[in-house]
């Protein structure tokens, strides 16, 4: 086996050094009642070429493959990923390193994550960003827990019902074993969150609002921030599509205290939903309540600039059960990849790309409207919108599928009241011709 370098002769020599007769003898401390009986019931080993053939069989089972135009976002977005990023992120010095516990051997990872933290803070308009969380969903859950920590005695948190349904489910899972209560705020007819329930409340630690929200709708974040702060709660600005902040106001500009969400859009493949990137940032005064790892700048013995993991007294290995979170391994390489993507785009590129995404989405929205569709929500949107059609849309959907186009996501499963409505997503990867093709089929 090519990953196991020991020759029989070496095994004999080494067994002699440790005073054992055989490899099995090394396990003599394991009681008989704990032992595995027989061989592991697993399929036999495959050589490299047969393994490739096996994966070919598996990928052949993907009825929708990379040749399809998929007009679904809903937390996972198709953007072009430049080849430079694939090449750089797969460099094994980055890929095969562990968490940078020994800074003298990990300055590459450390400077790269420091740069990620900085670009993330700038993108979200916040003072400090951490080195990453698992994904947008767990980032929201951790943001709510952080809000409860900061507010101390308040027993409740609230989330908008226009936040990604899966994120709300994860937040519920994280909170269920605690004594805290999770409230949901409904959305209005225009697709924005109804914050009127916050009036006169004093028991809510934090409120999370997503923008663009699950329906693609741009929330009126400054107004939301005012309502949330008026209720004495912390304002958590959540997102699934950070590319939007190249064009629209970011959470920091709208008064958010914590910003969190999914960073998959920034140079990571959809990859069936993972590995993604939980982005997490806050105002400076909350730094010591942050969950997760932080990289900070320092100097070496000669006074040269360098980077280390820092403020570890918040973390699980030092603070034990009093830690701000239990997170240890995060999504380090995904964060580094996102930094590479942000660096490749630059400020000018981010704006141009965000604008292009917006324009293409508006184009499809407008053309579908001309073809008889009705936007379900009147508020402005970014990259995604919900459409209603007078006739059953399924026949159109099926015809488009034959043309290798997946025309949106039906919402009944997530919002029963929106059954038969479709959430569409458009990015720079779709051409005007692709969009016109969709419209043609809708016209019939």
């Amino acid at each position: 086996m090519r990953y196991l370098p020991h020759t029989d002769e070496e095994i004999r020599e080494m067994l002699a050094v440790v005073g054992k007769e055989s490899l099995a003898d090394l396990f003599c401390s394991i009681p008989g009642e704990c032992r595995f009986e027989g061989e592991l019931p697993l399929p036999p080993a495959l050589n490299e070429w047969n393994l490739n053939a096996h994966f070919r069989q598996l990928t052949d089972m993907m009825a929708v493959d990379q040749d399809f135009k998929i007009l679904i976002g809903a937390g996972s977005y198709h953007h072009h990923i430049p080849e430079t990023i694939r090449a750089l992120a797969s460099r094994s010095e980055f890929l095969t390193a562990y968490t940078p516990y020994q800074p003298e051997m990990a300055q590459g990872t450390l400077q790269g994550i420091f740069e990620y933290q900085t670009l993330t803070a700038r993108l979200l308009g916040m003072d400090v960003a951490n080195a990453s969380m698992y994904d947008g969903a767990s980032a929201l859950a951790e943001a709510l827990l952080m809000g409860l920590r900061i507010a101390k005695k308040k027993p409740k948190v609230a989330v908008s019902r226009a936040i990604h349904p899966h994120y709300r489910q994860v937040a519920k899972t994280y909170l269920q074993a605690t004594d805290f209560e999770l409230l949901e705020l409904p959305f209005l007819e225009n697709g924005r969150t109804d914050l009127s329930a916050l009036k006169d409340r004093t028991d809510i630690a934090a409120v999370a609002v997503q923008s663009p929200n699950f329906f693609g709708v741009l929330e009126d974040l400054p107004a939301a921030g005012e309502a949330i702060h008026a209720a004495g709660a912390l304002f958590i600005g959540c997102f699934t599509e950070p590319l939007a902040f190249g064009l629209v106001k970011n959470p920091g500009q709208c008064g958010a205290d914590i910003a969190c969400g999914e960073g998959q859009s920034l140079g990571l493949a959809r990859s069936f939903g993972g590995a993604g990137l939980g982005m997490f940032a806050c105002r400076e005064q909350f730094t010591r309540s942050l969950p997760g790892r932080l990289v900070g700048e320092t100097v070496d013995l000669d006074g040269k600039r360098g980077f280390v993991l820092t403020l570890a007294t918040r973390e699980q290995h030092i603070r034990r059960e009093k830690a701000t979170s239990n997170i240890c391994t995060n999504q380090g390489l995904c964060a580094l990849t996102a930094a590479m993507y942000m660096a490749s785009l630059g400020g000018g590129g981010l704006r141009e790309l965000a604008r292009l995404n917006y324009d293409k989405t508006e184009y499809l929205k407008g053309e579908l409207q001309k073809a008889g569709g009705t936007p379900v929500f009147s508020s402005p949107s970014f990259n995604e919108f919900v459409m209603a059609f007078e006739d059953d849309f399924q026949p159109v959907y099926r015809r488009l599928l034959e043309k290798k186009i997946v025309a949106g996501l039906e919402l009944g499963r997530y919002y029963p009241e929106l059954a038969g409505r479709y959430l569409f997503c458009v990015t720079e990867t779709l051409s005007k011709n692709d969009l016109d093709e969709v419209v043609r089929e809708v016209r019939g």
Binding site: E10, F27, N52, F55, T99, E104, Q176, R270, G274, T329
Partner: protein, 485 residues
């Protein structure tokens, strides 16, 4: 090769991203606009972030230089205890990057993604076979999230019996994340002291176990690299009082095909695919921490899971007992693909052999080094062994000094100052993918360091001397945090 790998190389300087570039440069291509400009409410418009503008060559050189300041398992031996830094096979990278899988959207209908679901289902089956625990969730994105999942399952099971328990037993030889994971579920960790032999004693557990205690959260093999030989009796004590047993499976690399977790009486355990199953750690992640449970507890697992119906695979929502969703989608899928690829490459015999050789390598190092470094628990170990700086402290040389000196010799230092039960711990886990030649060089380096500690201790206190930067001031970093440039 008998020469130590440490040497000086040509390492280039590189500024921070925003210290280079010029406004107007672009590092990637953007399609030209083929639709008309749309209007947007002025009140919603932002200014866009202040990012530097870099050219493609700027970006490529920047990250290539940064990468050269890093050390990975492809560079050399990385014997970080409890981290299982084994070789990360290249072929697994290919499979995870296959365009059909990389482009798969997580909200597509099941019929459109049968290949991806079959991989997930297959991996669930493999991990059930390896642990002996039939219920598997692949959602947890890392070990600590697996622990949280396990604790939520504990809480759900107790609640279903109408009992709310408040405490959890955690031995001093368990992993560092365990107390924080338990605390997230409202459990108060109760420390259990290991016995003089470095393993848990049945009586100590029995004395602490009561009707308020949800169970025990142990690591087996433990963080001293020792197998908890009383695990079965400890499990019986727990179960007799309505408690459950959680096994942190971070050290599974020692016992694949050798130990059956179900027969040990374990109810819930997580595996770290970025340790035992060879997926790369990426300088801090992404990992994967699947959770395996007994048949009785399977109904509590996170939702959804992949099930098989005839020839078809489906994502099935959990029933009313499920703790709910742990991940935005289905876990770190690209990591799961790599682990699947590894298990198919290894097959049953090689997985077992990997554990045997991992244990052989650790015992070999232990025997060869115990004359030079203090070995607090001198007994056969599993996949890792724990030394301390007790002898070197006489010369005012610490574990940290010795670790830093290893860098000069071209080795990544072991895990240091953990586990806490050993003051000045040096925890070495070589893994099975290191050959005897490289182990011998590592031994040679540590023996030389032990000699230098006596003859020239200042050399160690000043180490490393060959790295791009010398020792970094971590105290200053924490005192005046500069987290953003």
């Amino acid at each position: 090769m008998t020469e130590l790998p440490g040497a000086s190389g040509l390492i280039l300087n590189e500024p921070l991203l925003w210290e280079k570039g010029k406004k107007g440069r672009r590092g990637m291509s953007i399609p030209a606009a083929d639709v008309p400009r749309a209007t947007l409410e002025a009140g919603l418009m932002g200014e866009g972030p202040d990012f530097p503008d870099l050219g493609e060559v700027d970006v490529v050189r920047h990250y290539t230089r940064l990468s050269q300041w890093n050390f990975g398992i492809d560079t050399g031996m990385y014997p970080l205890g409890s981290c299982t830094m084994k070789y990360n096979p290249k072929i697994n990278e290919r499979q995870a990057a296959l365009p059909e899988l990389a482009a798969a959207h997580p909200m597509l209908a099941d019929v459109h993604v049968q290949g991806a679901l079959r991989i997930l289902f297959g991996l669930q089956e493999f991990l059930a076979a390896i642990t002996g625990l039939p219920g598997v969730s692949l959602q947890p994105a890392a070990g600590a999230q697996g622990e949280l999942t396990g604790m939520l399952i504990f809480a759900a099971r107790h609640e279903s019996r109408g009992s709310k328990r408040t405490k959890i037993l955690i031995p001093d030889t368990a992993h560092g994340t365990n107390p924080a994971s338990a605390a997230l579920c409202g459990y108060q960790p109760v420390p259990v002291k290991s016995g003089p032999g470095g393993i848990l004693e049945t009586r100590a557990v029995a004395e602490l176990m009561d009707g308020e205690t949800a169970g025990i959260m142990l690591t087996n093999p433990n963080t001293l690299g020792l197998f908890e030989t009383h695990i079965r009796e400890i499990a019986d004590i727990m179960h007799a009082k309505g408690g459950l047993v959680y096994n942190d499976g971070a050290n599974m690399n020692a016992v694949m095909g050798m130990v059956d977790a179900a027969r040990c009486g374990v109810d819930v355990m997580h595996l770290n695919l970025h340790k035992t199953f060879s997926t790369p750690h990426g300088g801090g992640g992404p990992g994967a921490g699947p959770v395996c449970v007994t048949e009785e507890l399977a109904k509590y697992l996170p939702s959804p899971r992949v099930i098989r119906e005839g020839e078809a695979f489906h994502l099935a929502d959990g029933g009313p007992d499920s703790i709910g969703r742990m991940h935005g989608f289905f876990g770190n899928f690209s990591v799961l693909v790599r682990a699947y690829s590894y298990i198919r490459t290894m097959g049953p015999e090689n997985l077992k052999k990997a554990s045997q050789l991992a244990v052989l390598n650790a015992n070999y190092l232990k025997e060869k080094l115990k004359g030079d470094l203090h070995l607090p628990y001198d007994r056969p170990c599993m996949h890792e062994c724990v030394f301390s700086d007790a002898r070197q402290r006489e010369h005012k040389v610490t574990t940290l000094d010795m670790a830093k000196r290893l860098i000069d010799f071209g080795f990544h230092p072991p895990t240091i100052y953990f586990p806490l039960v050993v003051p000045g711990a040096i925890m070495i886990e070589p893994t099975e993918t290191e050959c005897k030649d490289d182990l011998d060089l590592f031994i040679k380096a540590l023996k030389r360091i032990a000699r230098e500690a006596e003859e020239n201790p200042e050399l160690l206190r000043q180490a490393p001397g060959r790295s791009k930067l010398r020792r970094l001031d971590e105290t200053a970093a924490a005192r005046k945090p500069r987290l953003c440039g």
